[in-house]
């Protein structure tokens, strides 16, 4: 037994993972075949696969994915723009930092889905209301990171650059902003995951084409296969954006700075 474990441990990590996932899927499949639980309690492997396939075929899944992604992207872009500007203002305008900065710090503890009731009262049951929640999810951590990054630019970088003749907007663009990048990337990633969570929470409550709504529909129809199918799609999308977007940014920062966190 012990030797068996040692040998498994010595295998390459991708092989370990393949074994694990294959095993997991096999167990899942077998439990489904045994029909221990009713289908509205326990999703089956073929059921989930056919649910995804029919979702794609009927077009409901692509529409939901597109709806959610579009909302997320729009909200995130708004949060990124306003967040960076706010962070910039907090880093440079003392009065703004002392006043508005307090809000940014204080509100960070509030889960952004709590903005939904307020948002519905302001914007009605509309696309805007959910967008507001997404923006609030990402905005604070982006603003905070932008401020930290700009404020913590090592003084020697600024001195060295000024000594070489760099000033004003050029100094900002070529020294302060790049120096803030590692902190910014961390904040942007955090903001993205907050936005994603807020969006899903919002969509669960909402009747708008989106993945959250598809989950709710699955529950209302007692269609466990659809529920799990949508969960898998959500996980897949989350992993993909992380691997294609932020991991690329993080790797670039790590290559330059030569550290995990970038500092």
């Amino acid at each position: 037994m012990r030797r068996f474990y040692e040998r498994l441990k010595a295998l390459p990590v991708p092989v370990q993972r393949t074994f694990f996932l294959t095993g997991l899927i096999a167990v899942w499949y077998l439990l489904g075949v045994l029909e221990i639980w009713p289908s509205y309690i326990f999703p089956t492997l073929p059921g989930v696969i056919s649910s995804i396939a029919s979702g794609i075929e009927r077009g409901t899944l692509p529409i939901a994915v597109w709806g959610s992604i579009r909302r997320l992207a729009t909200g995130y872009m708004i949060a990124l723009g306003t967040g960076v500007i706010t962070g910039f203002a907090m880093a440079h305008v003392k009065l703004f930092k002392n006043t508005f900065g307090l809000l940014v710090l204080g509100l960070q503890t509030l889960p952004s889905i709590c903005w939904l009731p307020l948002s519905i009262l302001w914007f009605g049951l509309s696309e805007k209301a959910i967008l507001f929640v997404v923006v609030m999810g990402a905005f604070l951590s982006i603003a905070q990171a932008a401020e930290d990054g700009i404020r913590n630019t090592p003084r020697v970088y600024i001195q060295a650059a000024r000594n070489l003749g760099s000033r004003g907007a050029r100094l900002y663009r070529t020294v302060i902003l790049p120096s803030a990048m590692p902190t910014m990337v961390t904040g942007m990633k955090l903001g993205w995951s907050f936005a994603w969570r807020s969006l899903m929470a919002g969509e669960l409550i909402y009747t708008l084409p989106g993945l959250g709504y598809m989950l709710t529909m699955g529950r209302e129809l007692n269609d466990m296969n659809q529920v799990v199918a949508v969960i898998l799609v959500i996980v897949f999308l989350g992993l993909t954006t992380d691997k294609l977007g932020f991991s690329v940014l993080e790797r670039s920062v790590r290559a330059r700075w030569g550290t995990e966190s970038g500092k």
């Binding site: 090592p154 020697v156 970088y157 001195q159 060295a160 650059a161 000024r162 000594n163 070489l164 003749g165 760099s166 050029r170 070529t174 020294v175 790049p178 120096s179 990048m181 290559a255 330059r256 700075w257 030569g258 550290t259």
Partner: protein, 248 residues
């Protein structure tokens, strides 16, 4: 470029008190001279360099470069920092190129200059390396190349070799002397290592701490290029050290 401090004092505000880093310091450095500032930590050596670079202002007194009052930093007087202060988001080439880009030099001219400088500091193979991939000695060489790119009349060096191992330091001493002999630059070199000062300087200004003052001045007449194993270096160093302890 001639440099001069005329009755310069510099006070810093620290929580709850004022600290006088420099007290009524006057000195003048002739164009093309190699001057070393030595003294224990806290004697205001670095403050003098920052004042000469224009990165700091005197509380009272005047800082002059070629007779004109220094009002801010300028590429004609470049400071090389103790820890090199290279930009980690740029590779070696990008760092050396930085000042040339500020001067809006065309791409070909920049590339030519960068490759000349990297060859001079023996780092031509590392043009595309990131800063964290370099050793301490290589970083200081890049910092030197970055400073020389803007062709300054004055080089201000703040304990640049303090954190390096002895072999690398010897090599860089040699290279710095060679460079100074070739290009007629004014060099102000700060160190707490008396022997290093004797090895490199035409003139040594000895400083005392809290508040920073100039205690003594020594002219070193040894022929160049000098080496650390020159028999006169140790006795002269002892002389300099003695002048440091007299009132310190």
């Amino acid at each position: 470029m001639d440099l001069e401090l005329r009755g310069v004092s510099r006070d810093y505000v620290r929580p709850g008190r004022m600290v006088r880093a420099l007290d009524d310091v006057s000195l003048s450095i002739r164009s093309g001279e190699f001057v070393c500032l030595v003294g224990p930590s806290g004697c205001g050596k670095t403050t003098i360099l920052h004042l000469l670079a224009g990165l700091d202002r005197p509380t009272t007194g005047k800082v002059l470069a070629d007779g004109a009052v220094v009002t801010g930093p300028d590429p004609s007087r470049v400071l090389i920092f103790q820890d090199a202060a290279l930009f980690p988001w740029l590779n070696v080439q990008g760092n050396v190129e930085f000042g040339l880009k500020v001067m809006k030099q065309p791409r070909e001219a920049r590339e030519k200059k960068v490759s000349e400088l990297l060859e001079m500091v023996h780092l031509e193979r590392f043009a595309h390396s990131w800063i964290h991939e370099l050793s301490g000695g290589m970083k200081q060489r890049v910092a030197l190349a970055r400073a020389l790119a803007v062709d300054p009349a004055v080089l201000l060096l703040d304990e640049p070799f303090g954190a390096l191992d002895a072999i690398t330091r010897d090599l860089l001493h040699e290279e710095l002397q060679g460079l100074w002999l070739k290009a007629s630059k004014t060099v102000v070199f700060v160190t707490h290592n008396v022997r290093e000062a004797v090895l490199l300087g035409d003139r040594i200004l000895v400083m005392s701490p809290s508040p920073g003052r100039i205690l003594a001045e020594h002219t070193i007449g040894l022929p160049r290029p000098r080496r650390m194993d020159h028999p006169d270096i140790v006795p002269i160093s002892q002389e300099v050290l003695a002048s440091m302890e007299k009132r310190g």
